[in-house]
Symmetry: C2
Subunit: 679 residues, 2 copies
């Protein structure tokens, strides 16, 4: 290679912005490599795989001092012509292994867009994950056997993979050893090897081998939740998501929530095995589903990344989770783990690997690590609160200086359990609620019905769909609206005195309920429902506050709501209820399945694996149960939005009611009221 | 650690001879480690495993300037007393982890002797293999779980293994992950980890884990021959062989020799699988046998090393050997390989590893590599010839400057096949023969009968045992004696004219035979038998000569005969027949199963693995079939001892007959004779 001089053409690669001077005649891919710009290639410069396509941007780029033109790149040669004839080259695209630099150029490396948080209904944000997958496909032509140099066929394959691709000290997956000779002969000495360059052993591994040119490889990113298992199927070569799907976790038949599953293991001698088998079968089934969606053979899946909460993590890996059911909540293993997929009974290519993100703590799992990787509080300076609400809320708070994490036992109220008329989000479930503060009359929106309940024709539609209950997001809204309209006090007590004003306030024994929908199937919000929500949100808020105290801050700059729950609730109502601390509303964002997005990032770029491994080591874990202060924070957080904390940002957009205290129950009748200033 | 000064005590370790000065109070084991003297330890200085025993040599060692005395080592302390009480400390022995240096010392590190070539009946040479096993046992006491630092149990185990033993970046065998928690709790946080530090991935691996102190680990070294599988069971901690045994290779039922087994694979769709299964089952059976012999639980076997000829190598690893049956004899893989033992269906500890030595060429296998490691031509300056005679003779020739290797197709004659009265070495087989050159009367020795055939009472014993045939070593002797006594010419023709002199020369159609034993079961040596031996020895000798030509030498300095055949034949007769080139007789040594000894070396010292891997890369392989000169060398080598090569060393001890040429067959009757000078 000739030393580049100031007279050589200047080449700028987009979108990375990397630039450098290269002698005329240098191939574009060689220039990219020298600058560290990632351009895929499988065939090794033979112009057969078509993976290294680029596009010349024409024009005068004054800012960069470059006039770029298709005249500054070599004309299409014989190899590219052949490729275009056989497989087709899109207009304007060139093969960077064949095209050479002839003058100044601005070159665009097309990036397939990876959609973040596909499962999120709203606020889906696009994101480009820079690709640096663990698996690379490498085509080589191997020397034929020579009696004078009796190196084995595999050994000569390794020689060529080092010579053409620079792979040193290659190892090979044992199942391939007996296949090497027949594959080499079938490919007439031209074969494609899949190299896994992120083995925990640090040496690169041949994990797949095909005769001739193999031009596609896939990976899966999977989040194993207690209720739902979600999966992306993605091309490791283009980064394109070709399938995304979910399935319910069949372990539900052993226990609805995590703790009941741990109990099942403790009570049944083969309970752990049965649950491991169930979740692995579900994962295999889901792989079938995403493969069908993407038109992909499951044996073309060569890598996989998993995230899960600690108990799912243990059960999926075949580890007894009993220790996680009791203090000190000892994880069997917290660090990141690698397996052969077949060791976990995952039915994909035999040479496929599994990478499991690290767990943060006994109740803050690899799923929280995935969400942390996705949202990256440690990558920026704002104080970011990341909340994943489930049966256990996983809470991460921090910025580039310091990150702390905790879990808080919110219980299942947010998911609609423990709520008298609670139900899952499905047609017939109330999902939006507004209450008129004067009349106390509600209007609501039902899944499957386009009109609001106060619009004409609603009841006709309702007769068809049915109105059957309240889903999680609406529970938050209705309680918040009841508070805003004065039906409940800041202590969460339904004001019985209001029964005089409205027929919707109904007495049940010593407490009162709010009648959200009358008719054949009455839907009410009881005092018990409100208590359940209060307990859940107090646990969450107290955990957040504890972390804020650890960080020494009394406000957060930005909030990320991960998980399905976070996607459907209205941040304003979450704040009115005091689930989350005061914050500028525009800074509260739902990010969908951030855990799954983190898994996807780790799948597409192995640098993200090192990033989250290092990050998790530095996250400080707070065990809420051990903090003497937690109890007081919890009690304060029972109030709406909070007994002691001000919500100035919220107050800018919502008129909070005057404080009134109603002593619940019949002892003092309608109760006593007092005022307090806010803001 | 204080810097040692010239005033500090001088300590000399034997047998290594390493020495150094250490401050008073330094433990002996610490001094050993600093000098690189290998002293085993499992408990990590807790004085519980007893593995680090040493002995003080008392006296004035003028040569070293040391007066060593038990007064110069600390008195027996509480820990050693406890160990002595519980497990017993032999007289004079001390625990080097507890005893400290108090003055000048000569310290003996006792070495358990490893016997080389146990299967060799005679000339067994003792050899000490310096120990540096791939597996080390390490006892640690792990911190209990702490909610404030929620590192997983496995992760804390790793922390302690790094802190106490220096293991960085530890990985763990996947099957252990679900067991870590229960083992830690069963051991009350004290556990012994087996660390494999020779994984092909280069990172150390936790391959075994036991509650409390585990003080023993074993390994097996195995040579898979076409006919026989031989195995040593050895303590990885002491180096002691606790069991050695052999079994016949059950693949014999698929084909007697290697090529017939390759044919079986080619002819039968599941032939490869059946043979792989058969050999693995035999290995498992043999493991049971050596474990019974040594009183060892097979699950305490943590490492294993295998050698085999190329076809056995492939079949054992599950690789189709078809390519080895035809030019260019392509090995699927030639480099050294590592597996988990269970990947090869070997039933030992689940965390045990298998190391397979590299193959040298398509016909020069890992067994030849093992023999090369054992005898080490490359470790010395003499020109060493190493011959392993089987159906294929594997030949290695070289010294520290250069090593060349080849195989030669000797066929099965040396093993008694193709010989009319040939049989395997068993009671009733003639194993020694002498022929009186004047009377042409033989005397012979039979396996199972103490007396020679000319001694009184022989026939009484023979009536009991039976005299049934001639074994391999006796075939060499009888043909050589027939030559020395003039019965056959240098061209190997039985001199029919002698029939006049002796009734033992019998005509069979157009050729003559020699009647070795008369009676009910006649034992004869036919012209065909002699031809078969000539063809075999000519192939061997021509191969050797080719290597000598490559090396540019016309004589070798020293000869090693490996394998069972080599152990039983008399070097003198081998030389009279011209199997091997002329050489001082004292320099011709049988070394028994050198391939197995090489496997043992690689088992006990992982440095030997690197040594043989590097050596094999540098060995030059000669394909005899491709050498145009081979044919002429072969023809010359058909004569006894050789048509063109002189045998001056042999002539010093044996009077070689005058050269006489007899044209075989009836064409010219008794044939024509001529003379030639020798020496």
């Amino acid at each position: 290679m000739t030393e580049a001089s100031q007279k050589d053409p200047l080449v700028l690669f987009m979108p990375s912005g990397k630039r450098g001077r290269f002698p005329v005649g240098t191939t574009v891919i060689e220039a990219a490599r020298q600058l560290g710009v990632y351009v895929e290639s499988v065939c090794g410069g033979r112009a057969t795989c078509g993976r290294c396509q680029i596009e010349v941007q024409e024009g005068n780029f004054a800012k960069h001092g470059i006039t770029s033109s298709n005249d500054h790149i070599s004309p299409i040669g014989a190899k590219e012509e052949r490729y275009d004839r056989v497989r087709g080259l899109p207009e304007g695209r060139r093969l960077s292994c064949s095209a050479t630099i002839e003058g100044d150029l601005v070159i665009d490396v097309p990036q397939d867009t990876v959609v973040n948080a596909q499962v999120v209904r709203k606020a889906a944000t696009d994101r480009v994950i820079e690709r640096n997958a663990a698996v690379q496909l490498c085509y080589v032509e191997v020397d034929q056997p020579d009696m004078h140099k009796p190196l084995g066929d595999l050994d000569r394959l390794k020689v060529m993979l080092e010579k053409d691709w620079g792979w040193k000290d290659l190892l090979i997956a044992p199942h391939l050893i007996p296949q090497v000779q027949s594959i080499l002969r079938k490919g007439e000495w031209g074969v494609t090897a899949a190299i896994h360059r992120d083995m925990d052993s640090s040496r690169p591994f041949i994990v797949g081998l095909w005769p001739g040119l193999k031009n596609e490889a896939y990976g899966i990113a999977c989040d194993i939740g207690s209720t739902t298992i979600a999966m992306h199927l993605v091309s490791l070569l283009s980064g394109r998501i070709v399938g995304s799907s979910g399935t319910s976790n069949p372990q539900i038949r052993f226990g609805e929530d995590l703790m009941s599953r741990v109990s099942y293991v403790m009570m049944n001698p083969d309970g752990r095995e049965a649950m491991t088998k169930a979740v692995r079968e579900a994962v295999n089934g889901l792989i079938g589903k995403v493969c069908e969606e993407g038109g992909v053979d499951r044996h073309d899946i060569l890598d996989s990344v998993f995230v899960a909460n600690p108990i799912m993590h243990h059960l999926f890996l075949g580890i007894d989770p009993t220790e996680l059911g009791q203090a000190p909540f000892a994880l069997a293993v917290s660090g990141a783990l690698q397996y052969w997929a077949h060791e976990l009974d995952i039915d994909v290519n035999r040479g496929a690997r599994c990478y499991m993100l690290p767990c943060i703590a006994g109740h803050v799992g690899a799923d929280a690590a995935g969400a942390t990787l996705s949202e990256g509080p440690y990558r920026q300076d704002k104080m970011m609160l990341l909340v994943d609400v489930g049966t256990n809320a996983e809470i991460v708070l921090g910025n580039s200086a310091r990150v702390v994490a905790a879990s808080s036992p919110t219980g299942p109220a947010f998911e609609g359990a423990e709520i008298s008329c609670g139900q899952r989000a499905a047609p017939g479930a109330i999902e939006r609620v507004r209450i008129d503060p004067v009349t106390l009359e509600p209007k609501y929106h039902v899944i499957g019905i386009e009109k609001w309940s106060d619009e004409e024709g609603f009841e006709e539609d309702a007769a068809k769909v049915g109105v059957t209950g309240i889903c999680g997001s609406a529970i938050i809204e209705v309680v918040a609206e009841m508070y805003l309209s004065g039906i409940i006090s800041e202590d969460g007590v339904v004001d019985g005195a209001m029964a005089e004003k409205s027929h919707r306030i109904i007495q049940n024994g010593r407490t009162f309920s709010y009648l959200l929908r009358d008719g054949e199937q009455k839907i009410t919000v009881t005092q018990n429902d409100i208590r359940a929500i209060q307990l859940a949100k107090a646990a969450l808020y107290a955990g957040i506050k504890l972390l804020m105290e650890k960080q020494g801050v009394d406000r957060v700059d930005t909030i990320r709501f991960a998980g399905a729950f976070g996607s459907f609730i209205d941040p304003k109502y979450a704040m009115v209820l005091g689930l989350i601390p005061d914050c500028e509303l525009a800074e509260v964002k739902a990010v969908g399945n951030a855990a799954g997005t983190g898994a996807l990032m780790a799948l597409l770029n192995r640098d993200h694996r090192r990033e989250i491994e290092a990050t998790v080591k530095n996250i400080e874990k707070i065990e809420t149960a051990l903090e003497p202060h937690f109890q007081q924070l919890f009690i304060d957080a029972m109030a709406l939005p909070n007994k002691v904390d001000p919500f100035p940002e919220l107050a800018k957009v919502v008129t909070l009611p005057e404080r009134k205290v109603i002593v619940a129950g019949g002892d003092e009748g309608g109760g006593r009221r007092r005022r307090r200033d806010r803001g």
